[in-house]
Assembly symmetry: C2
Homo-oligomer: 90 residues x 2
Amino acid sequence: MLEGKWKLVILFHLFGGRVLRFSELERAIPAISQKMLIQQLRQLESDGIVRRIVHPEVPPRVEYRLTDWGQSLCPALDALLQWAERRPDA
Amino acid sequence: MLEGKWKLVILFHLFGGRVLRFSELERAIPAISQKMLIQQLRQLESDGIVRRIVHPEVPPRVEYRLTDWGQSLCPALDALLQWAERRPDA
DNA sequence: CGGCATCCCAGGTGATACTG
DNA sequence: CAGTATCACCTGGGATGCCG
C-alpha cells in the first residue's frame, strides 16, 4: 500500500480540531492495518504534527489530535485539493 | 529511498517552465537511480503533470517539461514549503 | 543518448498471537 | 482497549548489461 498516503488520510480525519481514539481511527480507516496505523501515527507524532494523549485509566484510553503546527497544515493541503479538482480531463 | 519524494524533487527542477533533457535531470539529481528517475517521470507523465517530448534525431534527444496543469501545482507546493519553514522547534 | 530487461536482496507488510 | 512480538512473504528498488 506504499505507506505514504496513510499519513494524509489520518490528517484529514484529525483536521478541524477533532480528537479521536485509536479504535475510532481504526474504524474510520478500515483499509489500514493496525500495525500501519500505529506506525504512521508514531511518525506523525515524532514529526510534531500529531499529539498522543494517554489517559491513565482502566480500560486504557489513548487519544490523538493535531498539534497547532499540524493544524496549520490544513490551508496548504486545501490548496492541493483545489488544484486536484481543477484537473483538466481524466 | 521510499520513492514518493522524488516526484517533488523532479517537479522543483521543472517549475518555472524549465525544459530539461533526461541526462540533465540525471545530473541535477545525482542521488536518484536511473530506474527510479524513469519510473517517476513516467508516472508524472501518465498523471498529466509532465510532458515528454521525443525529438526524432540521431543521437536521440528527449526533453521533459511541465504541462499547464503541472505548472499550476506550483502555488500549492509553495504553500507547503512555507508551512514547513514555519516549523516550531527541531 | 535514452531507456528497457534481468537479476538479486533488504526490509516493508500483513496475519496472527500475546500482554498490560 | 491499545498496543507489542514474531514470522513468513513478496514487492520495491539498486546494479548491471544490452538495444535502437
